[in-house]
């Protein structure tokens, strides 16, 4: 099958049910074209590949139909570069005439595309882009974070959980870019408000290969717990060196969900055991819906699902459900977006109902997860505690919260 555009053979399905021919003819109609952008080259290419896998897996299971209409997915590589992402978005909207856009991984690519669709009005869904302000201070009505999360969302319950362990002194280490500033900001704000102290915050450049100077300083601070925010290869190296420098077992390590995501730990061993993170999804959950999804994904791709695969799968389901509620009629963008906002997703691999808050960000039951070894030797995230119905605003009043500045290196709550 052509890698770039794959159009399911909805026609063959229609032919196999001759009696319902007239119904099929009506339901089939013109395909719904979805522009899917993901970084298939560049630093985060492996995550991008899993985004495409998760998205396509959903429609493969549904026989290539969305709300009874055939679906055409046009995949574009955003190269992990905002300028390329912008160009691809223009091509998808203006040349391929897609009905909606989906995807992107890095915040800067998502922000560039969001800024573009603000002028075209094209619905744009971002299950992976976590930049806080897209559902906070700079909302765009046609950009909706279905099945996604905002960066500072999950570190808040994690900070609360850390306080409950009796830990009062913490340090953070993070990659020095907005995604890291926002996650550390969420953690620090709640940790301080609950009576804790954040003694040191370290920011290192993306693609740091040697963490020794940071680990040396972290070890000397005398903290009870360390919160780390790492993605990709940095996450692998950080966790390995954390063990090599003898910190593992001495200072508990907790972190952002992307650090302990399957896309990172898949190839790792005992060094990751016991690292705690917070997320909406845990592949080691005992919830039947999650277990079934993990089994199906493992059968299809021979790997445990990562956050990327899960989020894109659920995002696809969200749009499918929303379109079903308006009989697959996507011609009225306003009605379609309203349907998406109203949709309460019940069938997702989470096994619980998920709905959007008034700002377009989902409210989740957040689980605190610990990395444990499965019988087959692979590691996965198992839930150890749960915080029901956590919104991106935690316990704050949204309007009051939005008056504080966005998180940055200089502002950490």
């Amino acid at each position: 099958m052509d890698r770039r555009t794959f159009l399911f053979a909805g026609g063959s399905l229609a032919a196999s049910i001759p009696l319902s021919g007239s119904w099929m003819a009506r339901a089939q109609g013109e395909p719904i074209r979805i522009g899917l952008m993901a970084p298939l080259t560049g630093v985060v290419a492996s995550g991008g590949r899993e985004m495409v896998d998760g998205f396509q897996m959903y429609f493969a299971e549904k026989g290539g139909l969305i709300a009874g209409r055939p679906v055409e997915i046009i995949v574009e590589d955003d190269g992990a570069n905002p300028d390329i992402a912008l160009q691809k978005a223009r091509r998808l909207v203006e040349q391929a005439k897609v009905h909606l856009l989906f995807g992107n991984l890095l915040a800067n690519t998502g922000l560039a595309v969001a800024n573009y669709v603000e002028s075209t009005g094209t619905p744009y869904f971002i299950p992976i882009i976590a930049a806080d302000d897209l559902t906070q201070r700079h909302r765009i009505s046609n950009v909706i974070r279905v099945a996604g999360y905002s960066a500072s969302h999950f570190p808040r319950p994690l900070a609360d959980w850390a306080l409950a362990q009796g830990w009062r002194k913490a340090a953070t280490i993070s990659q020095d870019y907005t995604f890291g500033h926002e996650q550390c900001g969420g953690f620090s704000q709640v940790f301080r408000a609950g009576g804790g102290e954040v003694i040191g915050q370290f920011w290192h450049p993306l693609n740091t290969s040697d963490f020794s100077s940071y680990l040396g300083q972290l070890a000397g601070l005398g903290v009870d717990v360390i919160f780390a925010m790492e993605t990709g290869a940095d996450a692998t190296r950080f966790m390995q060196q954390y063990r090599d420098f003898g910190l593992k077992g001495n200072i508990p390590l907790i972190g952002a969900m992307n650090m302990t995501d399957q896309s990172v730990i898949r190839t790792m061993g005992d060094e990751v055991e016991g690292i705690v993170s917070a997320a909406h999804f845990a592949e080691g959950s005992t919830v039947p819906a999650t277990q079934e999804f993990v089994a199906r994904y493992e059968a299809a791709y021979k790997n445990l699902p990562s956050l990327y695969g899960f989020a894109m799968y659920s995002g696809a389901m969200w749009i499918d459900e929303a379109l079903k509620s308006i009989d697959g009629d996507i011609s009225d963008t306003g009605a379609f977006l309203a349907a998406v906002s109203k949709t309460e997703l019940t069938g997702s691999p989470l096994g619980t109902a998920v709905k959007l808050d008034d700002y377009g960000n989902p409210i989740y039951d957040v689980v605190i997860r610990s990395l444990r070894k499965r019988p087959d030797g692979r590691f996965w995230n198992e839930p150890i505690a749960e915080y029901p119905a956590v919104s991106q605003f935690w316990t704050y009043d949204p309007e009051e919260y939005l008056r504080q500045p966005a998180f940055s290196r200089d502002y950490q709550g």
Binding site: L40, L86, R90, E94, Q95, N108, N115
Partner: protein, 330 residues
């Protein structure tokens, strides 16, 4: 003085209006302009936006060519100068300044940056010039990445959108077309002026020009600043085109891409910038439709061009046409 110039550049520009090559060149430039003016009438909307990008990047490539082709200095910081104008334009525009004021400020900022870089870089040549400009460009990139409160860091800055009358691709294209035509004319006048001849003199023999009494550092400084001024113009146009800026607009990749466009088109041909920009942007757009490995294809095409047309596409055409006319006139 003319005698000291290498013969190829004399053929390239010196006798443009007299020789047959010159006539052919004039005709092709006019023809090219005509094609560029007519294309938006037949192309679909999206391709018009790609064509707009080609024009903008052609200006960047020509500004690099001014230094590389005429002054013999290959710069790796023009992307950063370009992006500085983009940043300045968007930064002002998002605060409510009018787009024209923002663009002018962007160009000024880029020119000032080029002047500072020029003062530092003109004392060197060859590989040292390459490395110094590389480092200077990286400084700009680092600042844009880390100065989050102003540049938005990794996330970049979002612009306010184009003014109403420029919103549709075709009208915006024609505005850019007119700007680029004027910029190109200005650049062409400069490289053909006595100043341009001096630059070529410096390229061919710095010591001889010095002995002849020319102030070489001053000329190099002026050349660098002027070239930066044009790169800044391209950057300001790009700001309006993209309505978004992030550190990738000042990254080394952009400087290298600009240089590749210059080389593919033909170093020292000026107009080659259009061919180079068109070739590379078209390749990016067309090949990436079929394969994720479009960069490999780009690399292969680049190698082929270097083997069969080491002077670039336009250099090769000129060379071929020159041979053909001299043979037919014999």
């Amino acid at each position: 003085m003319t005698a000291s110039l290498s013969s190829d550049s004399a053929a390239a520009a010196g006798d443009l209006s007299t020789s047959r090559v010159g006539k052919a060149a004039t005709v092709s430039v006019l023809l090219g302009a005509l094609v560029l003016a007519a294309l938006p009438m037949v192309l679909p909307n999206y391709q018009v936006s790609v064509l707009t990008e080609v024009l903008i990047f052609a200006v960047l490539a020509m500004s690099i060519d001014m230094l590389a082709g005429y002054a013999g200095r290959t710069s790796l910081c023009h992307g950063a100068i370009f992006g500085t104008a983009t940043y300045m334009t968007i930064w002002l525009a998002q605060d409510g300044s009018s787009i024209a004021v923002a663009m002018i400020a962007g160009v000024l900022m880029a020119t000032m940056l080029a002047a500072v870089f020029g003062m530092l870089a003109i004392r060197t040549s060859g590989v040292y010039f390459l490395l110094l400009t590389l480092a200077l460009g990286m400084v700009v990139w680092g600042i844009c990445l880390r100065w989050t409160s102003v540049t938005g860091g990794e996330n970049g800055l979002r612009g306010p959108g184009r003014p109403e009358f420029l919103n549709d691709h075709v009208s915006f294209y024609y505005v850019v077309f007119v700007c680029v035509a004027l910029i190109t004319l200005a650049m062409w006048r400069i490289v053909r002026s006595p100043f341009g001849l001096t630059m070529r003199g410096i390229r061919d023999s710095e010591s001889r020009m010095q002995a002849l009494g020319y102030n070489v550092p001053l000329h190099m400084f002026a050349a660098f600043t002027i070239s930066g001024f044009f790169a800044g113009m391209a950057g300001a146009l790009y700001a309006v085109f993209n309505n978004f800026v992030s550190p990738s607009a000042v990254a080394l990749v952009l400087s290298v891409e600009g240089l590749l466009m210059t080389i593919v088109g033909g170093v020292g041909t000026l107009f080659g910038g259009f061919i180079g920009a068109a070739a590379i942007i078209a390749l990016e757009n067309v090949v990436s439709l079929y394969t994720e490995r479009w960069q490999s294809v780009l690399g292969a095409v680049f190698i082929i061009i270097m083997i069969f047309a080491p002077d670039g596409v336009l250099g090769r055409l000129k060379d071929g046409f020159g041979k053909w006319t001299s043979r037919s006139s014999r």
